[in-house]
């Protein structure tokens, strides 16, 4: 059994460089700083200066959201330079002439970047554990949240690698990756709103889109996916109206986060496939 040599080398050089530990430290400082701030604020704003389980949940949600934001910001930076960087450094040809397949090269790169993100996410567990002390969030909930982090990292990472194979310059690849994600996160919301308007006013369907149509249309959005994961844990359902859940003639009960995970996996597969095609030639 041989470890993917690209992954092995990436991890080795990453761990040796000063960048990885510095990045990890900054990451944890931001996360704990944010968590501490939120904790203090909830303390001061509660009328008897004490904690109740509802406050812990607020802190948990905000902390989880902060981590989600950090992942969305970091993954493109970690992946968009992987292939274009090899090209700029003039080492890509040396990889391409070897026996290793293009798929292994792409996967080695992706796994190396994801490992780095995973390291950060794992390092954040102690920060989250402060919340467990106060109770209110179960281990199962946190496992689902972390699974979601992994999947969204892989998706955004494969988008970054895709851009890195198609654009020669790392700077261009990075900008395009962020653009992609911007469209992913906000563009889809705008499209969704416009389609809703059309359906209501132009076609005068008084019920609007069905629940399933809504999920198909907007279910790939990372923010909503994250929100759905959180709502699933808290037992709240603010997405209910947003997704027209009352209009469900076919009685389809797929949750948005479930759809979102499947959607993310499909996007990853597509992006990896296209990257392999591109690098092969």
């Amino acid at each position: 059994m041989m470890i993917n040599p690209v992954l092995r080398r990436e991890l080795k050089t990453k761990l040796r460089s000063w960048k990885a530990p510095v990045l990890l430290m900054v990451y944890l400082i931001i996360l704990t700083g944010f968590g501490g701030l939120v904790l203090l604020l909830t303390l001061y704003t509660s009328y008897d200066n004490s904690f109740n389980p509802q406050d812990t949940l607020t802190v948990y949600v905000l902390l989880a959201g902060c981590q989600m934001g950090l992942i969305i910001l970091l993954v493109p930076a970690l992946t968009a330079g992987t292939i274009s960087g090899e090209r700029e450094r003039q080492t890509l040809d040396l990889l391409k002439v070897t026996k290793i397949s293009s798929f292994s090269i792409i996967m080695g790169k992706l796994l190396a970047s994801i490992s780095q993100i995973m390291l950060m996410v794992l390092a954040s567990i102690p920060v989250f554990s402060i919340i467990f002390i106060f109770g209110g969030v179960s281990l199962k909930n946190i496992a689902l949240l972390f699974l979601y982090y992994i999947v969204i990292s892989i998706t955004l990472g494969s988008v970054g690698i895709f851009c890195s194979t198609y654009f020669r310059k790392t700077t261009v690849a990075t900008v395009v990756t962020y653009l992609f994600i911007l469209i992913f996160c906000f563009g889809s919301l705008i499209v969704y709103a416009i389609v809703q308007e059309f359906v209501y006013y132009i076609f005068s369907y008084s019920d609007g889109l069905t629940y399933f149509q809504s999920v198909l249309l907007i279910g790939g959005n990372p923010f909503l996916g994250f929100l759905s994961v959180i709502e699933n844990q808290l037992g709240t359902d603010t997405l209910y109206y947003f997704l027209n859940a009352h209009n469900n003639p076919l009685n389809i009960n797929i949750k948005l986060w479930q759809f979102n995970l499947v959607f993310n996996c499909l996007v990853s597969v597509l992006m990896i496939f296209l990257s392999v095609l591109k690098i092969r030639r």
Binding site: I3, P5, R9, T13, S17, R89, Q90, V97, K99
Partner: protein, 307 residues
């Protein structure tokens, strides 16, 4: 062993390789010479499977590289003209990484790496970081890397370019050693003398076309001896031909109505003596000049290193 048949490569409208054919036997060291921009790198990249040809075939042991790139990767070692290295990686780890890329089992690697570092004289640097090595050392390391999977064919694209004279000599010594490994080697350069003593055969390429190809001594002889002189005259053709035929260093006299062309082996002093001799016989010349033959022209460029 390696056969290139009617190879073409087009970059947009520009034809970088134009109907190039050559054949290299097993164990041969083939020098690929031509001025900058002649198409050497392009040809070598196609052979290494990095570029798609616009037409033609590259056969290795009869198998087409273009349709079976995967099969031939393990047979070919490739050293590009320009390449980079990784940060934070030591020399032996660098070698180990590429060993992994060729799926060489972990247990076999130390012996292979030791041996190759010995050949390129970098054993003492095995714990140094690759990016701290000098240009010459990096070049040698890259050569060792290209040998890691013990390929049958080695493609070296200007391995000595950009090196200072001392590093150049070191590189040359190592390349000479490679001859003993019994590999088929293609090595390119824009400087002919650099290759002449190293190679068994040579191909000269210009503007994407092979202009001369053969054993080293044949080519060198062709290049150094053949000068073509052209004379244009008004009358006394017979007189001129008689003078020319008397000269020991003139061959292949070719007569047209008002022109004579011939091959000349002598140096410039002999040439001026010849002109004087002709003038003394009152032959009325309108032109006396050395024909800008293809070979001399290219030879001048490649012997000087061209620019």
């Amino acid at each position: 062993m390696l056969e290139i048949k009617n190879l073409y490569k087009r970059y947009g409208k520009f034809l970088a390789v134009n109907n190039l054919s050559l054949s290299i036997a097993e164990g041969e060291i083939f020098g690929f010479v031509g001025p900058n921009g002649a198409g050497k790198t392009t040809t070598m990249k196609i052979v290494a499977g990095l570029l798609k040809a616009s037409g033609g075939q590259v056969l290795i042991n009869g198998i087409n590289v273009i349709s079976h790139p995967g099969k031939l990767r393990e047979k070919i070692g490739y050293m590009p003209d320009f390449f980079g290295v990784y940060d934070n990686l030591k020399v032996d780890e660098y070698m180990d990484f590429y060993a992994g890329m060729y799926k060489i089992p972990y247990k076999d690697r130390p012996a292979i790496i030791d041996n190759l570092l010995e050949i390129v004289d970098l054993s003492h640097k095995r714990d140094a970081y690759v990016d701290s090595l000098s240009r010459g050392m990096k070049q040698r390391l890259c050569l060792a890397r290209s040998l890691i999977h013990d390929p049958d064919i080695l493609i070296l694209d200007e391995p000595a370019s950009g090196l200072d004279p001392r590093a150049r000599i070191e590189m040359k010594e190592i390349l000479k050693q490679l001859r003993t490994l019994g590999k088929t080697i293609i090595i390119s350069s824009h400087i002919l003398p650099e290759l002449a003593e190293l190679c068994t055969s040579i191909g000269i390429i210009e503007n994407g076309q092979m202009v001369a190809c053969g054993k080293v001594n044949e080519i060198m002889q062709q290049l150094t001896h053949k000068r073509i002189i052209k004379i244009r005259l008004l009358d006394k053709m017979e007189e001129l031909i008689r003078i020319l035929q008397e000269q020991p260093d003139i061959h292949n006299i070719f007569e047209k109505t008002d022109e004579v062309e011939f091959e000349f082996d002598g140096d410039d002093i002999r040439l001026s003596q010849l002109l004087k001799q002709i003038m003394e016989k009152d032959v009325l010349l309108t032109a006396f000049h050395e024909k800008e033959g293809n070979l001399e022209d290219i030879f001048m460029k490649i012997t000087k290193g061209g620019e």
